[in-house]
Point group: C2
Chain length 417, copies 2
């Protein structure tokens, strides 16, 4: 997604020494640290993770060192990275299994056409091509478009590819993690819900904020799940939350407690959820069906998705936004026909494209809740990316960025590169 | 559904002789044939199929002979049956697997509370309780509500449970088969279609009549399928029709020809449809994806439903209205999330309840197309129900009413009982 820019690769000798190459001797941005190797032409040294073919991150991900010309193309912005999460969609993009496949390009100057992964992150503006730009050095920006490629120390983006955020009172981690998981939870809870007895079978209304209406979700301890719990609490909705058992009972109890502290009304383990007793438990939660569950969130698939669907009330909607189990969603026909449950998918990228202004409002709303302490920081597993950090270290960190994600998602945190 | 009425069972001796019982000596409706056994009280002899517990029709279906008092409750209508089809939903109702379960009542006077099956059919009005009724002797009526119980020679219904149709130019078979299958096809084609790039993920628009937009359906030779083919042709839509292979190639070719004659644009066998070549064939039909398929109709489930879903274009809707294979619908998560396909069920009964006026217009529209010869009669396998027809014969006919349904659906045709 980064727009055309002039790139010169540094000499191997210069790279080996980790000093300026012959083209990079002076530093045009002295305030941004000594690591900006620059010369008479003001070239910036940068590093990018990239892949030139699809596969497992540990097999295909490489680190590229290159130079960025300080002569920026019109309407472009030079930025340095502060933090960038590792999301499941990023891994799927590298594997080639994601819904949209970015194009391999020669922009980065890699031996073969390549893609820089990373869909989410926060950058600091170093300079703008146009004096009149609304973006000024020191501003924080997040991607305004999908698949911008955030896993790199520096980049030149088109001004329209970036969205400025008010950094006051925010940490880089909060800013880096705002635009995927909390936004998904926000959109789904605000836009989907049961059919309200309308004339045709298709339209459905959103859940009514402040009404205490129920929704149910699996993968409740995921980033989206945790955001949904907190937003529901803030918005006057009630949540039933399905989690997988942890390695020990103590850990399960601790997680249950953690989600309850976030505002979860009901937390149930997957074993309880898939057992015969769940029906009675559900009847008691919904007061014998007097309070129907109008919305289900599914990020698992397989049996868990079917059980979510079976828990829903007449005319409800089940929104699938992920498929962690890699099992298809399996729907008894009766749920479709007689219970009038509708099954839809949710893809944040599409929403963002369709409703740019709505997205800005949503981001501001979420950031304001974050600043107010109404949204708790998502647990992260920080991976430090310093100038010296090796390709092996980064590749390994990405490959395992999702392991044990319940304890925190992988987050690349950039040093003063 | 029939309203309260006074019923007297005839004496066994009278039944054995198939003559009037001691309460039934005169015939208050002489114009309706000698079979109306009646006496001083004007009681009508009637026969009803019924079941008092769920199970296979051959196990639980029984024939009850009873008398109907000519003194009708206010706002009620006495009718005699002309024809009533055997639909899959009727069998499922008897089996107890249907979505709505009618209540076993004592209205019929059977030894145990019972239900009269049959959801569709046409009756002739014999008399109305109120002189001012809009229904007059000789009028034809079809059920205005679900589960009215059509498998009986005579009945007393509430006036509001019946919908008068203009019988001019119609056969009883045409009138008896108008309200389930053609209505389902009509509703689905007129109300469901792809998302039209609207802001939220849920709303979808109907197919645009006259545009040549594509839909795809399995079970294309079913009653709904045949109606959909013909309606699509009349309305300027195009259909891709999946049929199961017949016993011989000749029969398959004949069926293919038959559906093409009805107006099918493309007919494909399930084997072709589930093969690897289908993707290329589909690309050629849709001109390399330039003409996306916006709507899928599924009455099969299992692999066939998944293949229908995979054939659909971005943002399309798949409507399930049946599950003949008894296999659940299996959805790869990517179809939900990345292709934004939405999956809904269609239940005509619910539509009829929600939109009574719309249903009347639809019935009139379909009957007018039938009279114009624009809709071909659905193939039927007629089962004659005369006064003498035995319980065994009827039970057996119902049990096998759906066998070889591609050659015609079972239809009870009443003699001058």
């Amino acid at each position: 997604m980064s727009i055309g820019m002039k790139i010169l690769n540094c000499t191997p000798r210069a790279l080996k020494r980790a000093t300026a190459c012959r083209l990079c001797r002076a530093n045009p941005f002295p305030s941004f640290g000594a690591r900006f190797k620059s010369g008479p032409y003001g070239y910036i040294q940068a590093k990018s993770l990239f892949f030139s073919k699809n596969g497992e991150p540990e097999d295909v991900l490489k680190l590229h060192t290159h130079s960025i010309s300080p002569t920026l193309p019109p309407s472009s912005i030079l930025v340095r990275a502060l933090a960038a999460p590792i999301n499941p969609a990023d891994i799927n993009t590298i594997q080639g299994t994601y819904g949209s496949k970015p194009t391999f390009t020669s922009l980065l100057g890699t031996p073969e056409p390549s893609i820089v992964p990373g869909n989410e992150g926060v950058f600091e503006v170093l300079s703008a091509a146009d004096q009149s730009s609304t973006l000024q050095p020191g501003d924080w920006v997040i991607p305004a478009v999908s698949q911008i490629g955030t896993w790199r120390t520096h980049a030149v983006f088109g001004e329209k590819e970036l969205l400025k955020i008010d950094k006051t009172g925010l940490t880089a981690i909060q800013a880096a993690t705002v635009s995927v998981n909390p936004c998904s939870a926000y959109r789904i809870l605000r836009n989907y819900g049961p059919s309200s007895g309308l004339k045709t079978g298709i339209p459905a209304r959103p859940l009514e904020l402040g009404s205490g209406e129920w929704f149910i979700q699996n993968g409740a301890n995921s980033g989206v799940g945790r955001a949904a719990i907190q937003l529901a609490k803030l918005w006057g909705l009630r949540s039933i939350n399905v989690i997988r058992e942890r390695a020990s009972d103590e850990e399960t109890t601790a997680l249950r407690k953690e989600l309850q502290d976030l505002g979860a009304d009901v937390v149930v383990t997957e074993t309880e959820f898939l057992s015969r007793e769940w029906r009675d438990q559900l009847a008691s939660i919904t007061r014998g069906g007097r309070e129907q569950i109008g919305l289900g969130l599914n990020c698992v698939g397989g049996k868990s998705a079917t059980a979510i669907a079976r828990s829903l009330g007449q005319g409800a909607t089940m929104v699938s936004y992920g498929g962690m189990s890699k099992q298809p969603v399996l729907l008894p026909v009766g749920l479709l026909i007689f219970k009038d449950i509708r099954f839809v998918g949710f893809w944040l990228s599409k929403w963002n494209e369709k409703d740019v202004v709505g997205r800005q409002h949503m981001i501001n709303d979420i950031l304001s809740m974050t600043k107010n302490g109404q949204l708790v920081d998502v647990p992260t597993k920080e991976i430090s990316w310093e100038w010296e950090t090796t390709e092996d270290t980064l590749r390994n960190a990405v490959q395992h960025g999702l392991d044990g994600f319940q304890k925190g998602k992988g987050l690349l945190v950039f040093g003063d590169t």
